[in-house]
Symmetry: C2
């Protein structure tokens, strides 16, 4: 069989793998890079919910290979059978072999399915990153009359919103229910008041939102007919979408003798290096630690995967970059409301026993507020450590600029800026783009916190 040689072999062609490939080419243009992936096409992972309402076809949600091929990256869509670590060679499903100098595992994750009776019934779908499967789900959703979404995290909320939009567009009166175990949707990532805002937006779209609701079983003979809750209530459903989290794909790593944990992923250090110095892992398949306390982190996000893919690729030939650990920076849009979050929520900070001060700002996202399209109550809520005034989290609810405003916070968290610094900085403002400079959200929320923090001042800086 054929034997090819590549300098860098990447197993997995989604966020972490693609970013790793691009990074190698950027930093070591002379190195050959091969990405192995099973799927013929890779969906944009975060775009999957938008297939169902906004985009309307799976084909519009594909990461184009061109951008990677143009950089000289080889893409090979043969599955990997095994890896000969001693011989530094991958053996593919068709028997062909790819010898490598450095290997990056970016095997991703798969949807977690709860171990409840009936989970294997027909028309119960996880959110697999597989175009054909997603297409099949679309057909099922199109003919469904009652859809239940299990899990009120980002993916569940976005799926419920998009299915409701699709239904509204079709005018076919589909009923959508969203079932969340915790007291609020989005609760692990977002401030409670913003979770409530998101729930209200879903309700405005006609979604039945059930919180503090535990699924007991999935009912039906063959095909699903309903979702039974611990309360005894049964939600009628002819299609069920499960979005309760992901499981890292560690099988290949385990098979070749690398340490891996079924929940936490393939063991890596802060350089994203496994115990084999020529093998790195990045993205959903790899272990993560929290930026805040160094403990293992369950955060699985494309943004973290991209950062890790970049870091792994930067360290192949010498240790150059360490990950800061998972921060958790998110954005989402539900109905008319965009919500973003970076770092700790109030709840998470309380649970971690960190004394902190909250600063809030509510102001129009235009100035004057009489400008067309103004959101009158864009809100930022920032959390600062009481002992040193450093920002540990921030949450924004607003319009299109929400995620970028959250990224001011994300950058501030990751570089340890204080309330003093964020309050006294100069920020670009403009009538059609932001709040007034008197009440620019990040500045004002930081200043509101600074006024209640011990006065360290910035005069010593």
């Amino acid at each position: 069989m054929s034997m090819v040689k590549t300098d860098v072999l990447i197993v997995g062609g989604s966020a972490a793998g693609l970013m790793a490939g691009l990074t190698v080419k950027r930093r070591h243009p002379e190195k050959s890079v091969t990405i192995l992936r099973k799927a013929l096409k890779t969906p944009v992972p975060c775009g999957i919910p938008y297939i169902y309402g906004t985009l309307k076809t799976v084909d519009k949600n594909i990461i184009p290979d061109d951008n990677f091929i143009k950089q000289g990256i080889q893409i090979n869509t043969t599955a990997v059978e095994s890896i000969d670590r001693a011989g530094k060679t991958a053996i593919l499903a068709d028997g062909s072999r790819v010898a490598y100098d450095k290997l990056i595992l970016a095997t991703g994750s798969r949807p977690a399915l709860p171990p409840i009776p009936g989970i294997d019934k027909q028309n119960v779908y996880g959110i697999k990153k597989d175009p054909q499967y997603l297409q099949e789900l679309q057909e099922v959703l199109h003919s469904a009359r009652q859809v239940a979404v299990i899990g009120g995290g980002f993916i569940g909320v976005e799926m419920a919103e998009q299915i409701a939009m699709m239904a509204a567009g079709n005018g076919n009166g589909v009923e959508v229910s969203l079932v969340e175990m915790l007291p609020n949707c989005l609760m692990l990532a977002c401030e409670q008041e913003f979770c409530v805002d998101a729930e209200n937006e879903l309700r405005d779209l006609g979604v039945k939102v059930l919180t503090s609701a535990q699924v007991q079983s999935i009912e039906g003979n063959g095909a699903v007919t309903g979702v039974k809750l611990a309360s005894g209530e049964t939600i009628p459903a002819d299609a069920v979408v499960v979005g309760i989290g992901v499981v890292p794909n560690i099988e290949l790593a385990e098979q070749i003798g690398l340490k891996a944990d079924p929940r936490l992923g393939v063991q890596v250090d802060a350089y994203m290096q496994t115990e084999d110095p020529d093998i790195f892992a990045a993205g959903d398949c790899a272990t993560k630690f929290s930026f805040f306390d160094g403990n293992p982190s369950a955060v699985r996000l494309a943004s973290v995967a991209c950062s890790e893919g970049m870091i792994a690729a930067s360290n192949l030939y010498s240790p150059e970059r360490k990950t800061l650990g998972a921060v958790g920076a998110f954005g989402t849009t539900v109905g008319k409301c965009s919500i973003g979050s970076a770092g700790l929520t109030t709840r998470a900070a309380e649970e971690a026993g960190i004394p902190f001060v909250v600063g809030e700002a509510v102001s129009p996202n235009r100035h004057p507020g009489s400008l067309p399209g103004t959101i009158p109550d864009m809100k930022a809520k920032l959390l600062f450590r009481e002992d040193n005034g450093k920002i540990i989290g921030g949450h924004v609810r607003g319009g299109e600029a929400t995620a970028d405003m959250v990224n001011i916070v994300a950058a501030a968290v990751q570089s340890g800026l204080t309330a003093e610094q964020l309050a006294t900085m100069q920020y670009a403002t403009h009538p059609l783009l932001t709040a007034s400079p008197l009440v620019y959200h990040v500045m004002l929320a930081a200043e509101n916190a600074a006024a209640r923090l011990p006065r360290n001042g910035n005069s010593g800086n």
Copy 2:
């Protein structure tokens, strides 16, 4: 005559004065605060151009006093006649007196008018922050057939755009010309390619853009009839708007014997304190120094004014906060194009003799790019010092999120973040709000620069 006493007296009721008042109330709620201002109403300064196209009335562009009165701030619309520094008392135009403990001068600026023949002709207008004057200008513009705007900085570009929009709305075929002395509009703040984008947007709106064009005189008998250029060309005009910059209002400070420079403003230190320990100055009337080299700065922006107003107010009773110096963080929107800028441009960095590396990123502001409303070529251009990798400037062209993305840059500049840090951070992304995490603009531009900077790595952090 009446004599009242206030703890903090603020002269001037626009950005710096209002921010100073709010800050005193936030940090010292027990102190009484009085704002003295001449005008009955204060226009939103940055909103002034939008009176003419978008808002259509001056009344929609007024800063509401309620927010300040609610905080317990007294607003007194009597003009100040003089100040008795020894007696710490302001004497007002009606003879009444206000005794103060601390005084903040926030007297602002007025439009600069070039010393050219004909500048005093009828229908030649600066951009005064005076509602009645702005209303009068609106009436003149409504009946004008040919409008010339002199000055292609932010205010000139925005005025030209809005007058063109107004004309398009009226269907009355007004011709708008914009005359800029430098080779490009917006050139002092923006990267050249973005200046060109803005000029093209103006041309699309029907504005005649004349660059490298020096105004020699304003023609007409009584009322203006045209603008004569050094080239010999005369642009016919029955109304002229001049937006070439501002002159600090230092008269009151000079009158009471405080050091002040006609171009640079009332002399203050980094605490915004004048030579009189009980008198501070902030905003357009006060001297500024550059964040980058400490030299006197001519930057006059509401965002700088707000920051200074906050800093001045924080230092009244003890030195708590120092200004970092003027950074220059801007945003604007011209036609379909939003442009933002923080810190140095390529040209400014070259002129300052700072060796630097540029990193660019062009990517869609949604992912996948097939989503409706996607701007396919949102662009970020970041400048990093070659010696230490720290960011010294950043420029963004895109949609509604432009200013907030620029504020990631503004925060990074002001806290000295490096290309390494900005490249390896995690950023919130979302299909409907941002680029893909593979190509998020700030990250990718920083990484493109990092790949060409000396490899300091972040492993030592």
